[in-house]
Symmetry: D2
């Protein structure tokens, strides 16, 4: 995390977040429930709570959320992120490293010149 | 990101990832498809691809994935992370900051002494 | 199932579908994998394959799918239905009976006069 | 639906359920929100509410749910079924017919002799 105007909380490293979540689970003796299988379920439940905020909303409106709704959406994004960091940690996966490598794969899979303006069947961003 | 033995890729800041994903979408003229509504759908689709790897696997086995399976799971985690970073950026949400604030909320909601060893109905980690 | 012009396949009773799915699983010795926990995961994976067909498509276009796309969507709907019937059977739940009772609950929860034209926060249909 | 000891509610035909859901939406002027795109989102949200009941529960326990939990799960199954019937209706898809045809496809895709006892990568039941 760079120090270019980010909030103090944001400056905390990804690695510190991992550690904080380990402590949170250990303090509650919750590691027993945190198999990757279970965590994948918890993660998709949070992803659905995010989807729920948009299901009756138009695409246009989803770009202009009222403050109260945005605050709620922010918490769902946090929940998804928390479970994502936790499951990656439990599996020994470096999340940021994996993301950069996947972007490279996506670059080759969807060359800009070929796919420009066409979403087609692609579900890869 | 700290520099305590992480891979070069992992040292890249969260902010650089946000920028990289903007460039990726712009180069393909895909911003038109990236309403938060649509991105929430894309995110849950990737979360489901993660769940799919575990649906017939026992909790125990999910902790000991064979190398080939782990590599595939790693890509799904990356896909979820990529869409999460992208949708947060489109909504102007600081993802890491939101995560730390949510952990504080969870601390108060689930005091360690009260919930120790009990998952109960909680879906909050 | 009434006999008012439905196709021959459609006339088969819900109960026969339940039985067919039991036979399908037994013939493959797959009951061991069909805990309700696992089946809930399989169900949401199929629901996501349905969502995937619509993630980059506008609401308007989703009402006018080309024939090839509609055929693919039809298979995803079938997959969701198959897992839904199977998990209900494994839990001893009468799916159609539960649906009718839930509609009654929804009637009282969302009186037509009060909610007309407003989706609001409701995720109940 | 056959009349072999099912409850009165269960005897109501699938077609009557379709009609009831149309009336429910029309009375509330909710058809405007019921694009297949939106309904696919609503469906996966309900599927996730089902998953949530099982995320911290073992496979074994999921086969022996306490009465109170089973009643809640029953409502989630009903919610999924309601949205599934509704989206199929909006798309002009015969859900039961599609399920029977998909079972035939699955029979050929997973010959019993070949897949007996092995879940492998299959996500098709």
């Amino acid at each position: 995390m760079t120090s270019d105007g980010d909030s103090d909380a944001a400056r905390m490293a990804h690695r510190q977040l991992i550690q904080r979540l380990r402590e949170f689970a250990d303090a509650r003796d919750w590691e027993q429930f945190h198999s990757p299988k279970n965590l994948s379920m918890a993660l998709i439940v949070e992803a659905a709570e995010l989807v729920e905020h948009f299901q009756w909303v138009t695409e246009q409106k989803s770009l202009q959320l009222p403050a109260e709704k945005l605050a709620a959406v922010e918490q769902e994004l946090a929940d998804v992120f928390i479970y994502l960091v936790r499951i990656a940690d439990r599996l020994g996966v470096d999340l940021v490293d994996a993301a950069w490598r996947k972007i490279e794969i996506n670059e080759r899979k969807y060359p800009a010149a070929e796919v420009r303006g066409k979403a087609g069947k692609s579900s890869d961003f």
